[in-house]
């Protein structure tokens, strides 16, 4: 009865997370062979990539930027350190585990980048570089919007009463 008018909303609502997942799956599949070819996992690659654009980063920052939980990051640090891809860096705050790429790590990063670049360029050409830019902008803004909602949840039944009065 009153379900029908809601259908449109439902359709949108349901397709957003799925669309993000499926698009990521499709694009990742293009480049994953280059990652696998160097015995890297996707999370490890994200760490490598994040460190390539910064001199050094601490665990918390990497955890947020690479969407990796701290316990996973600890294992990834261990694995990548054993392979000589990263090294720990001194930090004023001794609690922080700060890491940076080694020369080996940077070389591996550059190699993967070089190998995968033709496919990235091909994808950008096929899709349209400008549309890709627009998509990236929208993605980043939607992420900010969603994060803002998580950080500032609505007041639920306190909509009208800012301070709890009852």
């Amino acid at each position: 009865m009153n379900q029908t008018p809601k259908r449109e909303l439902h359709k949108f609502e349901k397709s957003l997370p799925i669309a993000l997942l499926r698009t990521r799956e499709a694009t990742t599949r293009l480049f994953k062979p280059f990652i696998d070819g160097h015995d890297l996992t996707m999370p490890q690659w994200r760490v490598l990539r994040a460190l390539a654009e910064a001199d050094a980063l601490d665990a918390r920052t990497l955890s947020e930027r690479c969407v990796i939980l701290p316990p996973s990051l600890t294992r990834i640090f261990r694995a990548m350190t054993q392979r000589g891809l990263i090294r720990q860096v001194e930090c004023a705050d001794a609690r922080r585990h700060m890491v940076a790429l080694t020369e080996t790590g940077r070389a591996l990063f550059e190699q993967v980048l070089q190998e995968s670049e033709p496919d990235y360029t091909r994808l950008a050409k096929a899709f349209g570089p400008q549309r890709l830019d627009m998509l990236l902008d929208l993605l980043n803004e939607l992420r900010d919007t969603a994060q803002g909602m998580v950080d500032n949840p609505p007041d639920d039944d306190n909509d009208k009463a800012t301070t709890a009065g009852s």
Copy 2:
């Protein structure tokens, strides 16, 4: 030396899969509590959602639409059948495992939808419904483009010689 002019490409290239991941993470976090609250995993929810829009689907179709590998899907079928959320449906091709929602499953789907709708609406309002539509279109088109590239890889060094001649 010749690295500098490539940086722009690299920047884009590297940020695309990450942007998709982070945006999905942020949006998912908004709705995950509603899923968790009913003891569903995200893949189970995707299956529930896919089945809610179709009378019945086979494993292959669900595997593609929900981005779940067949072995995982087998386990998910088992768990959801035990909970009485889905049931197997007869199929002309006896090889196919075809499933549909039970009344319990549909009721659960509707309940989760109802509970999460305010947040979806709030997100759409905050981001802008039209921009959200545009984002969804771009996502779906990029997925098609990427899938097309996976299905039709370039000829590598055969660019100029269609048939292997050397």
